[in-house]
Symmetry: C2
Subunit: 426 residues, 2 copies
């Protein structure tokens, strides 16, 4: 089976290496080899971490598009453009697609899947979520007989690495980010990761698979981790929680709640134990109950492993003369998209500590119908001190309105943090 | 797609229920329905937990075997006989097989797979290991591009439930077993679970998938949990470990090490946190790195979910006119099967405590080349006291020889426990 690869960065190098080193395993699965026919790169003469015979490289996409021996185009460039056009052109030529491109699949997945079905070719994207963790295969095939009720997980390795360093070594966000960059866990421009955009792409993709609806990532309620400081980690720990950036998609009757939000996770919850660059996904289905998948959410070989599993699956279909000819439309569900919905929240205020402050604030919460689960107050000396609350379940809007009033009090310096508190459903 | 089901116990009821309740999900995946044409039961008029129309039931296997509309036979009876014959007969008639039968697949899997390939039909058995956890799909498909280096896990829910109760509530083995039976986590005759036979069946199946070798479960080195007592749990906890019944299969150069053994798992290891009836499998592949899958290892609906995923996968193949026509033989590897190999061990002796006892025993270990990692000694009053050692890596045979000498000393009352100590490889 001849394939063309677009892009030879980290993931591309992983795919290249696996095809060389695990030939025997691949051949055993397929009865044939995977052969890289051509690789599209920006600069042919660039130094690369791995040696690639120069005759494989091209900087002209037409060399792949017009090569009829290439049956599968493997897109590993990332970003919307020109990947989107390249993939569409390949589909129009009757080529199958394997991609690791979360931004593209989250924003244009439906269009690409529709086009692929029209042309009878497959488009697969296991590597777009969770690196080597087989979450998409699991949802699509292994749990296919389930009504999925909820997916909640840690799906961004950069932020999980940063939060782990902050928690374990008492680092500030900036220190931990710097360390993540030094160790290759964060990019030079980390915005998409630390602002939760990357996680929103991924939860959009998982939502489309779990519930059959297409959700543009820009409408997903999200919050990054840039505002979290050491104090939040400290108070969370005191209260029995770890702070994690969670992405979730939950089914209600006629709606789906989706969010990416830094959350307090109870220490007993399996997700509290997921550290560093690891990802984990918790899936609840109405038959299977709870399933957790855990592994490396990024990296050359883990992500390459997922890309290969797609290439091999498509190759099997080609070998068996199967075309993408499903009658039912995967993305035809019509469900309202909501945000977090009712939840517990953690709030850290910075207040001037004097008698009556706690009472006044607690009363205001009460007037807005917010009852409190716990309060932590430190210091008693008329200085600026943190005041931490955990609420019972409330709507975010109600909380925001209440905090507007609270922040207007002269003794309230600022609302320093608002984090979600994840409850354990058992 | 019409199917025939053999057996309507716990798992059968789960399959029946899922087919009724998740019609929409199943139909969306397949473009068609799954229809139960006939169910083979021992007694047609028996009271059942769920209502099944009587015209579906039969006590004559010929009603399924000779019904040409039935394309898939779903075997959920368990046990070797008559399941083995029934499945062979169905294959000879050109019917595809889905089974949850671990004993059968572990002992006669190769013969059944060969026969199925000869006749061009599929035989699938996701539900035979790990209940709803998609471990077989993951190994077979998602990690197909990997050289699997190791699988280690908790794959027997009964023993994990018992060990969890002993650990959390200071119960004896007998008390915990009784509770497990009362709560439906252990059978009236729990032998196969508590002696590690069930886990040996499952690790034999996983070995065949991971390494392409067929290993009879009766040659697998195994030890159950019946000899573990409260003291072991207490000392393990003191030393920073949890006791779990682990099943493992590890690849060496030309050999595979397989065992089922009660083991001390360091508290930091993810498997230490897997409690009650839950199962978890840790897989290491040379590309993907470490992946952990976690979920309910048994139960009507979780296991039913896995059975359905196989039924749906086979249905898809039938819809696409695919026959089982793989050229390469999955089980053609030739590798020596070994046991645990070198490992750390936990040893609890019961000794008469008097000066020089620890020294004499430690010296004997030293003479046999066994160095000690830690020692716990309690009491100092010439009475019978426990003496606990953790060794560095040694061969089991060397340990056994040494303990033969040690147990001959007059101040050694007995060798009360020998448990494996699992190291963390990172």
């Amino acid at each position: 089976m001849k394939i063309g690869i677009l892009g030879m960065g980290t993931v591309g190098a992983g795919v290249y290496k696996i095809i060389q080193e695990n030939k025997k395993e691949i051949n055993k699965y397929l009865d044939n080899d995977i052969e890289i026919q051509r690789i599209l790169v920006r600069a042919i003469n660039k130094d690369r971490a791995i040696f690639i015979p120069s005759e494989l490289l091209t900087d002209n996409y037409d060399d792949i598009l017009n090569d009829e021996s290439i049956k599968i185009v493997v897109e590993l460039m990332g970003g919307i453009h020109p990947a989107f056009d390249y993939i569409k052109q390949a589909i129009m030529k009757g080529k199958h697609i394997v991609t690791a491109n979360k931004a593209l699949m989250a924003t244009h997945g439906k269009e690409l899947e529709d086009l692929a079905k029209q042309k009878g070719v497959f488009i697969k994207y296991e590597a777009s979520v969770g690196g080597g963790i087989p979450i998409i295969n699991t949802l699509m095939d292994s749990l296919a007989a389930n009504k999925i009720e909820e997916i909640i997980g840690i799906i961004n390795g950069t932020t999980n690495y940063i939060l782990t360093q902050m928690t374990n070594y008492n680092m500030s966000f900036d220190e931990a980010l710097k360390l993540a960059q030094d160790n290759g866990y964060a990019e030079a421009d980390p915005t998409s990761d630390i602002e939760g955009e990357d996680a929103a792409f991924k939860i959009s993709i998982l939502t489309s698979i779990a519930y059959g609806i297409s959700v543009q990532p820009n409408i997903i309620e999200r919050e990054g981790i840039t505002k979290i400081d050491k104090n939040d980690i400290k108070y969370a720990s005191k209260l029995g929680y770890k702070i994690k950036l969670l992405a979730a998609t939950k089914r209600f009757n006629d709606s789906v709640g989706i969010y990416v939000y830094p959350s307090l996770v109870p220490n007993e919850h399996p997700l509290a134990a997921i550290n560093n660059e690891f990802n984990a996904l918790f899936v609840r289905g109405n038959a299977v109950g709870e399933v957790l998948l855990y592994g490396k959410g990024a990296g050359s070989l883990p992500t390459g492993s997922a890309v290969l599993s797609d290439i091999m699956s498509v190759t099997k279909s080609i070998n068996n003369n199967i075309r993408n000819s499903k009658k039912s439309d995967r993305l035809d569900n019509n469900m309202e998209v909501r945000g977090i919905g009712k939840s517990q929240y953690y709030i850290r205020l910075q207040v001037i500590d004097k008698p009556g402050v706690l009472g006044k604030i607690a009363m205001t919460f009460g007037e807005y119908g917010i009852s409190l689960d716990s309060v932590v107050q430190n210091g008693r000396d008329e200085k600026s001190v943190p005041l931490v609350f955990i609420t019972h379940d409330i709507e975010k809007e109600v909380l925001d309105n209440t905090l507007k009033v609270v922040s207007s009090y002269e003794f309230v310096e600022k609302v320093a943090s608002i984090l979600k508190v994840e409850s354990i459903e058992k």
